[in-house]
Structures are given as C-alpha cells and as structure tokens.
C-alpha cells in the first residue's frame, strides 16, 4: 500500500470520515441542535467528497490490482454521492417528526454510499463483494430504523433474509468462477474464459448463479419479490434512497462483472437479459397499475425502470452506446425516482405508510410547489420531453435497436404507455380533484422544498441540455469495452 493507493481512494475515505464525524457529533450535541447540524454536516462533507472525485488520479489499477480507477469509477462515485446528498437533504423534517435517530440515519447513508462507491472501483471479485455487502448491510438497518413500526420490521427482515440469500448465491457463483479460472480479478477471468472456450457446464453454472445473485440485488423480475414490501415498509426517505442508491450500485456491479469479467460470455447472457428485461418492465408496470398507494406504486414502477436499464445492458454488443445508456439512465432514474419518493414526505401519516391516491386529491392546491415538483418527476418518469427521463429513454432505445433487438425497443415503448397511465393518474389526483374533508396534515420542511425545487429544475434543464452528461457517460463507458 503506497501513497498513490491512498490518494486513489480518497473520496471513499472522505465519505467514511463524514459518517464517523456525524456519529460523534450526534453524541456531542443535544437533540435540538443535532437536528440542525447533522444534515448540514452530512451535506457539506459529501460535497467535499464530490469535489474530491474530480481531483483526478491517473486511470490505473491500485492496491495490486484490487482497485481500478477510471472514468467509469468517477461517474458512479459522483452519482452515488449526489444521490446521498439529495437523500440527506430531503430528510430532516421527516426524521424529526417521526423521532428517527438522525445521527444513525445520516451515518448509515454515508456508509452505504461508501459500499456503493467500492463496487464502482472494483476490478476484482473480492473487492466487488466487499463493496456490495458494505452497501447492503447498512440498508437493512435503514429499512428497520423506525423500530417500533411493525411494517418497518417486516421490511427489514424480508430485505435482510432475501439479501443474505442472494449474497450467498452470488458468492457461490464467484466461487465457481474462481474454480474455473483460478483467478479473482476481472481481466484474468475474461482472458481465461476466452482461452478455454465458453460452452461448458461449469461456466454456465457460474454465469447462472452470478446472474441470479445480481438479479436479486437489482430487483429483476422474477427476483424482485422483496422489493415492494421492503420499499413500502421502510421509512419514506430511506425508501427514496434505497430505490436509487443500491439499484445504481447493482448496475455498477452488473456492468463490472458481466461486461468486464464475463464479457466473453456475452452471447449467452445478453439473450437471457433481453428476455428478463422485457419481463421486468412489463411485470413491474402491470402490478404498478393495480396499486392505490403511491408508495407501493412507485416501488413497482422502480422495478419497471430496472427493466429499461437492463435492456441497455442486454444490448451490450452495440458498443459504448449501450454502457453509456445504462449510466445515463441510472443517473436520470436516480434523480427523478428519489425526487418522486421524496415528494411523499410532505404527507404526515402514521407509521411508514405512503399516501394513498385519495389522500393526494387536491394536493396542488394545498402545496403548489410540491405538487409541481412531483408532477415534473412523474412526467419525467413517464418519459415525456422536455425532461431527462425522455432523453434517458431515447439513449436506451438507441443501443437496443442497434443490437438488433427491435422487439425489445417496441416492448419498451409500449411499457412507457402503460406507465403513463398510472403516473398521470397521480397528476390527475393532484391537479384535477378537489381536496377532501379530512386530508392528512402536510409537513413543509424548507430543506425538502428547496432540494425538490433544485432537483425538478435539474430534471428539466438536463432534459433540454443533456449533452454534457451524455458525453460523460460515453466516456465512462469506454473502459468497459475491451
């Protein structure tokens, strides 16, 4: 371990330090002051970490090949930190009103982000697995952080059991890979696989195990069963974070493993992934249609979005545009989905429940700014221009067609129509119904409104001027193509 190694992982070190400082600060300050200082501390610390991402170290391998720093790493690091900042900024009012321990909450988000970042910089199965666990274990805690709520407990238990199960599957797949290739670093694995041919039993077993394990993490149908309950039961700001951070990280892992290590097997997995993508988006959307609770609806819809992202992964043979599509969509999805969940924080409801459709009636009259932001996020999730969600759909359809998967492109288009139906139903409730007699009380946190305002503005501005992000995504996708 040299100085260069340490410098290479300085963003991770900073985020870890932020988490520790927050924990100490939580112990030092009294509750009222902590409620003010902790979010500020978290956001400020993460901004420093974000700046350090751009403090470029040479793109190379560090820690004797266990860590890779390249454009891909930087892109995902930035996305993870941005999402963590957003998640921290929307939370204070909710945490205060539900008496959720704030110190733990912010620290957990930071720890989980460190895990996610570790996935992005991994160039070895071991690093990747450590990153994955560092990311998920805090999230189990986060899901159950409202200890006295039984739905939160259910969510945490379910998430934990299935998460542990999928980690085991994944690890078992890694073991098979090691057995076949006698290596854990992606480059050697890819080289050995290419050399010894791919059509043999053990390789297929390893591939299947890895695909299923990662499928669980990313909530791909049919491995998605844990998602709705976990998302629904977790405290809403935690859900907002869970639905984007770990998902983005899962895709970072999928790209690193499938494209990096298992790239030679592309012919095998891309056909499977194309079918899974179609199943995932259709399944997620159809079940979302039937939901009357917006939190559950958004949970299912996030499954559908997984399908769109997966479609771009399946189109990997189209070259860098496929990787760029995944990265761009992950970024866009993170912004709009976290925003959409965060809009539910305006409602002061018992437990961890999300607002039902009826409770949204007339929301536009009661909280015009929140409703406008919610509307923008939903329109973006639908994929209607001029929002970033539309550009994301455009860049996903492109490699999918390029890879010769015209049927999948049509499935994406039709799914977007299905999704429009339930997304716009929410807009209908907010704007076209009058508020009823006993509507839930609204909480209006200034931090919440400001961060939602910024995010919804970004959704539109980046929808009109997406060039810089897309170019960055293209650059970041380059290292994946060997």
């Amino acid at each position: 371990m040299t100085g260069a190694d340490i410098a290479a992982v300085s963003p991770e070190i900073i985020v870890t330090a932020v988490a520790l400082i927050v924990l100490v600060a939580d112990a030092v300050f009294d509750r009222r002051r902590a409620a003010l200082i902790l979010p500020l501390l978290t956001v400020a610390g993460l901004v420093v970490a974000l700046a350090s991402v751009f403090n470029v170290v040479p793109a190379a391998q560090y820690f004797r090949g266990f860590v890779t720093i390249d454009a891909f790493t930087s892109f995902f690091r930035a996305v993870f930190i941005l999402l963590a900042i957003f998640a921290a900024a929307v939370s204070p009012a909710y945490l205060a009103s539900r008496r959720v321990p704030a110190g733990e909450y912010y620290a957990i988000i930071c720890f989980s982000t460190v895990g996610a970042m570790t996935i992005a910089l991994s160039s070895d199965l071991i690093t990747l697995f450590i990153g994955l666990e560092t990311m998920t274990i805090p999230i189990y805690v986060l899901a159950g952080i409202q200890r006295t709520d039984r739905f939160a407990n259910e969510a945490a238990i379910k998430y934990f059991l299935l998460g542990a199960f999928s980690s085991a599957l994944l690890l078992y797949g890694f073991v098979w890979l090691y057995g076949i290739t006698k290596a854990t670093d992606f480059v050697t694995i890819a080289r050995v696989l290419t050399a010894q041919g791919i059509a043999n039993g053990p390789t297929i077993v390893a591939l299947a195990l890895v695909t299923v394990g990662l499928g669980f993490k990313a909530a791909i149908v049919p491995f998605h069963q844990w998602t709705p309950d976990a998302y629904d039961g977790a405290p809403t700001p935690a859900t907002a974070f869970m639905s984007v951070g770990p998902k983005a990280a899962a895709f970072a892992a999928i790209l690193r493993v499938l494209l990096g290590a298992l790239g030679p097997l592309g012919v095998d997995w891309s056909a499977v992934l194309a079918v899974l993508a179609a199943l995932t988006m259709t399944g997620g959307n159809i079940v979302a249609l039937a939901q009357t609770n917006t939190k559950r609806m958004l949970a299912y819809s996030s499954i559908a979005h997984t399908g769109y992202i997966l479609a771009a992964v399946a189109a990997a043979k189209a070259g860098p545009s496929a990787g760029a599509a995944v990265l761009f969509y992950v970024f866009a999805y993170g912004l709009m989905n976290l925003g959409a969940f965060a809009c539910l924080l305006y409602f002061d409801l018992e437990g961890t429940r999300g607002a039902s459709l009826d409770e949204l009636n007339g929301f536009a009259r009661r909280q015009p700014l929140g409703a406008l932001a919610f509307g923008i996020f939903l329109v973006s999730l639908t994929g209607i221009p001029p929002t970033i969600g539309f550009v994301a759909k455009f860049v996903v359809i492109q490699p999918v067609l390029d890879a010769g998967l015209a049927w999948l492109a049509v499935v994406i288009a039709l799914n977007a129509v299905l999704a429009a139906f339930y997304y716009l139903r929410v807009v209908v409730r907010m704007y076209m119904y009058d508020p009823e007699e006993k509507q839930p009380r609204l909480v209006s946190g200034r931090a919440l409104s400001v961060s939602l305002g910024i995010a919804s503005f970004a959704v539109i501005v980046l929808g009109i001027l997406p060039n810089s992000i897309y170019r960055w995504a293209l650059e970041a996708a380059q290292p994946l193509v060997r």
Partner: protein
Amino acid sequence: MTNVLSLLVVIPLAGLIPLFLFRRDERAAKQVAITTTFVELVVSLWMVKQFVVGEPGFQLVEKLEWLPSLGISYLVGVDGISVLLVPMTTLLTFIAVLYSSGGAIKTRIVEYMTAFLLLEVGMVGVFIALDLFLFYIFFELMLVPMYLIIGIWGGPRRIYATLKFVIFTLAGSLLMLVGIVAVYLQSADASGSRTLSLPDLIELRGRFPADFQFWVFLAFALAFAIKMPMVPFHTWLPDAHVEAPTAGSIVLAGVLLKAGGYGFLRFGLPLFPIGVQAWLPVLIVLSVIAILYGAIVSAVQKDLKKLVAYSSVAHMGFVTLGIFVLNLQGGVGAVLQMLNHGFVTGALFLFVGIQYEKTHRRMIADLGGLANMWPLFTTFFGVFVLASLGLPGLNGFIGEFLVLLGAFKFGGVPLGGLFWGPLAAIGVILAAVYLLWMFQRVMYGPVREAYRALPDLSRLEIACALPLLLLTVILGVVPQPFIAYIEPSLDRVIRLATDPSFVVVAFK
C-alpha cells in the same frame, strides 16, 4: 433578421415570466396572455412576409449545435407546406386565449394561461422543427398542456377523456420514437456519424432498405394516424372534444390534429417512399372509410359538440386521402383542407361554445329557434356551417374539390381512383345532410321561452369570430395566392415520395 423562427418559440416562453410575476392578479394574467399571443401572431405574419414564394426548399433556416455527441442539432425552417400553418396556429391560439379571457374560464386563470402559452410553443415548434429529435420534443410538448387543459377545465367526464387522449397519443408517439431511433441508426455512414436532420436524411434516404422503410413508416404512420385521427384510431377524439373547454376544442381541432397530417407530408412521404407505397392501399381505404363513417356518425349525434367532433374525423379523412393519392392536386388540396379545417372547425367549436355559455344546453333536441333571437350569431354560424359542408365560394370547397380531383386521377389502389374518388365524394353530400339538418334543428323552429332573454353575440365574441370569417371568405374566393405558397414545396414532396431515387439538395 433571420432568427424569426426562434423568436416564435421564445415569445410564448418569455410571456411566462410576466405571467408568473402577476400570478396573484387574474386580470393582469389575462392581459399578459392576450398580449403575448398577439405579439406571436404579428411575428408569425412578419415571418410569412419574409418567406420567398416560389422557392421549394426550406427557408429562414437556423441551425445550432445542440447534442453534438448524438449528432442532433437545433434545426428549424419553413417551406411552403408549413409557412401558412404557423400563422394559422398563432391566430387560433390568440382567438382561444381572447375568448377564454371573456369569462368562459372561471378558475385558476393563471395556470390556464400558462398551459396555453406552453401549448403554443409546442404547436409552433412542431411546424418549424426540421430535426426529428426536435420535432418529437415539440410533438410531445403539445401533450401535457392539453392534458391539463382538458383535465382541469373540462366537462364532467374530463378525467376519463383526458387520460384517453394522452394514452392514445402517447402510444403512437412512443412507437414513433422507436422509429426515429431506427432512422437515426440507419443514417450512419461509413465513418459512423449519424444525424436526425431532415434535409440530410432526405439526401441519405437511399440507405433505407425496403423492409426497413416498411416497418419504420408504420411506426411513424401510427403516431400521425392517432393524432389526426384516422379511423380506427379516432375514438379518443369525440371524448376529448366534448369534455374540453371551448378554447381547448378550438386549438385541439384547429391545430393539434394538423400535426398528424403535417407529419405525413413532412416526414413520412419524403423519407420512406417505398414504405409509403407499401401502405398506400390501406391508408387510402382508411381515409375513405373515415370520410363516410365520420359523416354517418355525425348525422346521428344528439350532442352538438360531438357532431362537430365527428365531422372533424370526416374532414381529416379528406386530408389523408389528398396526401396519399400522391399527386399535386391531392396534396395541395390536403394542405388547404388543413388550413380550412383549422379556421372553420375552430370557428364551429367557438360557436358551439358561445351557444353553450348562453343556453347551457348542448343537446340538439333541447335547442331550437335560436335564429329568431340571435341574427348575428346565425349569420356567422351559418357561414361556417356552409364552409364546412363545402359550398363553392367558401374555403371548404377548394380543398375538398382538389382532393377529389386528385383522388379521381389516382390509380395506385385496387379498384382505382375512379372507384374511391366518387365514394369520397358521397362524403361531401353526407356532410351537407348532417350539417344542414343540424343547423335547421338548432337555429329554426319555434323559439323556446327559456332562451328568449339571452343576448346575441358580444363584442368580444365578434372580435374572435371576425378574422375567421374573413379568412373563410378570402380563401374561398381567391385561393390562388395561398396555393402559390404551397405548390412548389408540395411538388417537391410528391416527387420525393413517388420516385425513391429522386435526390434534392435541401438548402439553397
């Protein structure tokens, strides 16, 4: 000044700023919206003045790098097909806003005007965009404001109607998005650079193989056919029109439907000549069905607004028929028919709205004898009804006549133009039947006591109707100057569509 087209996009957006500043003051908001749409109208006329008649290519072109990493640019321009549709749009929007500010809209004025200004950006943008990506954005930009206009300020079944409208339109346009991406990928040259700029694509269209054109044209055609709407995709239209507020109906019928016909002419025909040929029989037959079906269904409507809505289906049938007979007469007729339908049906919806505001009845059976009380109303309404049924001397005649002429000359479908042409002509007769019958039941007969005290047209209502009346007469009596605008560009489109090897250099 060469940036007049961008100015047309910017003005309504700029209008949002004072609208936001005066968000507490409804009167000011109305004035801001009226002023903005009026300025937009004037600028669009100024744009027409700068247009050089007789030049077939795109004019007033502006190009700006926008998404260089994707080869997408901000590219706008007009030719003879779009140059008249833009002032039609701005005029109808101005009238819609003017009429709405008279008291027809009572709640949430500021939001309403915001929606209208955003809608205008989309509508104008659709007619000037020359990059498929940009076109798609404007095409969709029309969707959300109209969704809100119907859904918030519409009638009792507005939510059903507006969701149906959005879902139908979105289904079509998302498939078109797949088509656009397919075109984008297919446009790649040896060096891998791709484009979505229409003038470039027209030059490159030799790279589109036959089966590619077959499928991609279908994707585009579905989007446009739903927007038009063509039978059997028309079912959203009666619901949307009936539930929309009057101004929404005016703009929906007057402008939004034109985006479909325009899309066929602008993108479908020039880019996919082989695809067009393949789908031609289907489209012609569907057009004739639309003409006859629309007319027959109109005849049995009990609701005045629904009758006008279904008559739109028939009129749009003439537009598609004129487009797909692929000759100059038919094409010019189709473009004229789009303009005429914009003015006349816009006016008809205006008058149905005015009538409803006064009597609060829309069922034809509940009305009657209105002519005795409202001489002015009757005169205006009568002229528009006659124009709609194609009376010579008014504008409706010219368009339908040219379309039928083109249809008779056309031989590219089974049974030939001499079968389908006369069949479509029956539609003209049916139009006379249902429109005159409606006029008779609504305007004549005994005066009902309940309506006796109701006033005739107000000054505001006359101001809204007068420009439309003038245009109806002028277009009917001297269509030639308008045809002179349309003809050269249309000739080029027809040659592109009928001869896959025809190549033009798009810019001067």
